[in-house]
């Protein structure tokens, strides 16, 4: 895949836009990709890393991925320039069944670097806005600088058909910060979206997911109406290498998208 776009989102966090080099691969991707799926992005000589496809299923001319530079592969990806070639394996895994969300209100709850998978679902729905009810997005990061997709947050802020609630952790606010200060689950409870005819999509670090699930329960959301995506470490992506398992579930094959009801059947200590 060729890098055709490159954007700094936050300190150490980058987005790459990739275009297929082989038309057949692109056709295959167009046929199979649905929002929620993931891929393995690689640089020869360094290896492969697993991230979600951050672009929506309504825009399949390219793939976008957003990642934090941390190890060998992500450093190589971060160093790659426009025009460079990188590898992509996928799309793998299951998806958010957004056709079942039609006619319903949507609540997106996300934290930090976990906005990318949520963003894929958000745009997949906003690109066919008329099919869905009220759209609420609750997004938080450790600090103002750590918020990703800042330009898109502004866009959502300005849209009359999207309610955006932004927050940063206490101490992470800047002097001119006009939004909330507090942890995502608390801010979510304050915003108190109605569970009536509403689907919640949550994604964040494991600790945020844990407490957000509790908050959603308090707000009256049924477990079957809450979806999340588990971003476990993966290598093969095809149900063999053994590291993404939670209990008997292969996250790469049976996930990464699960309802809260499915997550509650997994051994909590292994999440």
């Amino acid at each position: 895949m060729k890098i055709v776009g490159r954007h700094d989102e936050a300190p150490g966090v980058k987005t790459l836009r990739l275009e297929f080099q082989d038309p057949d691969d692109h056709e295959q991707f167009k046929k199979t990709f649905r929002t929620g799926m993931f891929g393995l992005y690689g640089v020869y000589g360094e290896g492969e890393s697993t991230f979600c496809v951050a672009s929506p299923e309504t825009r399949k001319e390219y793939i976008e991925c957003t990642f934090r530079q941390s190890g060998r592969v992500t450093s190589a990806l971060a160093d790659a320039d426009i025009g460079d070639l990188i590898t992509f394996r996928g799309p793998y895994g299951n998806r958010f069944p957004i056709e079942n969300f039609q006619g319903k209100n949507l609540l997106f709850v996300s934290g930090g670097i976990a906005l990318p998978p949520t963003r894929s679902v958000i745009w997949s729905c906003l690109d066919q806005r008329e099919k869905f009810g009220k759209v609420t997005i609750v997004y938080g990061a450790r600090t103002v600088a750590d918020l990703v997709y800042k330009h898109e947050l502004e866009e959502w802020q300005e849209r009359a058909d999207v309610d955006l609630v932004l927050t940063v952790d206490p101490g992470g606010e800047s002097p001119d910060w006009k939004h909330k200060v507090g942890f995502v689950p608390t801010v979510l409870e304050d915003a108190a979206p109605s569970p009536e005819n509403c689907i919640a999509v949550i994604c964040g670090p494991p600790i945020m997911i844990k407490f957000t699930l509790i908050s959603l329960k308090k707000l009256g959301f049924a477990e079957a109406n809450v979806y999340t995506t588990l971003e476990n470490r993966m290598k093969c992506g095809v149900g063999k290498c053994g590291r993404c398992n939670v209990g008997s579930v292969y996250v790469c094959k049976e996930g990464p998208v699960f309802t809260a009801a499915e997550v509650s059947r997994m051994p909590a200590a292994d999440l």
Binding site: G45, R233, C241
Partner: protein
């Protein structure tokens, strides 16, 4: 009357198999260390050992193997897929537990995406198993509902004769039958008594253990911490295990050329599941040992209807701190009552 392969004919058999295009492999001891390795003569075999130190797994799923080779020249990337070198293999003197290990992993490598490396090697290999006439204190096949003369995963089962001068031949599969055609005239029809198979006492009641493992309340039992206190996370048990199949994918090379490799990995290692953020779903050694036991006796059978353990006992036999599946399951079976 049954067909007998007498030991003194084995050398001729090997020669015939080799001229029929087979690489002949079997238990070999080098210095103090035994494994399944290629042989040229019957005298190269070490058929007297209880079982080789290393399992049969590595002949089908090597410790490290290339997946692809890449070269990069001025923005042009060329890759070359690796496929295992083709070639028929006859593996002689396999232990029933090692043969069973292969059939246990077949559904894993075959579900959804089919692992071509595994199945090419499976299709190219004839498994000639010898029933065990001796066992040691670590053998536990009977506890896993297998036996010293199990046929799972084998193409031929050989039963040692009482006089220790040959084997009774049982053809189990078409592949086995075909592989024995080149040596048909070296076999003799005779009625020789076979030696009794090894006595392997049952060490625990597997059903009782599985029932305990399946109870969600026991997932966070203090038992897991106690039993794995002395585990040093070295991964020997997983590497020696005939059924452990976890692997890593790593690149070796530079910007211009290199190899992408598939390497054995282990659920005993802390890095195995560690997220980029530093969060680790299985952050303690006890969580990792629990995963290994749960995977083998609860998750894997739930998915593929077979336990991911064939009872070879290598995990206990070679453990540097004397742990292992036997001890863990023995203790679990007492917790239940």
């Amino acid at each position: 009357m049954t067909r007998i392969l007498f030991s003194d004919k084995l050398d001729d058999c090997i020669a015939r198999w080799r001229s029929a295009g087979f690489t002949v492999i079997g238990p070999v001891t080098k210095d103090t260390f035994s494994s399944y390795a290629a042989v040229e003569h019957a005298s190269d075999f070490d058929l007297g050992i209880v079982l080789p130190d290393r399992s049969l797994k590595e002949l089908f799923f090597p410790q490290t193997e290339p997946m692809l080779r890449y070269t990069i020249k001025q923005q042009a990337i060329n890759t070359e897929d690796f496929t295992p070198p083709p070639g028929k293999r006859l593996i002689f003197g396999v232990r029933p537990c090692d043969a069973a290990g292969l059939s246990i992993d077949d559904p894993l490598f075959g579900w959804d995406y089919k692992d071509e490396y595994w199945f090419q090697r499976r299709n190219d290999s004839v498994i000639v198993t010898i029933a065990c006439t001796k066992a040691d204190d670590f053998c536990l096949c009977t506890s896993l509902k297998l036996a010293p003369d199990s046929t799972n995963g084998s193409d031929i089962l050989l039963r040692p004769l009482e006089n220790n001068n040959g084997w009774q031949v049982e053809e189990l599969t078409e592949r086995g039958r075909e592989a024995f055609l080149p040596i048909a005239e070296l076999l003799q029809e005779a009625s020789e008594p076979t030696a009794p198979t090894a006595v392997v006492p049952e060490m625990f009641n597997l059903d009782t253990c599985v029932e305990w493992l399946q109870n969600p309340e026991n997932f966070e039992s203090k038992f897991w911490k106690d039993i794995s206190m002395r585990c040093i996370g070295c991964g020997s048990c997983t590497y020696l295990c005939p059924t452990c199949h976890c692997f890593d994918i790593q690149d070796e090379g530079d910007t211009y050329r290199g190899i992408r490799r598939k390497n054995w990995d282990s659920c005993s290692f802390a890095l195995f599941t560690m997220h980029t953020s530093g969060h680790n779903p299985r952050s303690t050694q006890s969580a990792r040992w629990r995963q290994r036991i749960m995977h083998k006796f609860n998750y894997f059978p739930g998915k593929f209807s077979v336990n991911s353990c064939s009872g070879c006992g290598r995990c206990s036999r070679q453990c540097p701190v004397d742990m292992g599946i036997t001890e863990t399951l023995q203790k679990i079976s007492t917790l239940h009552s």
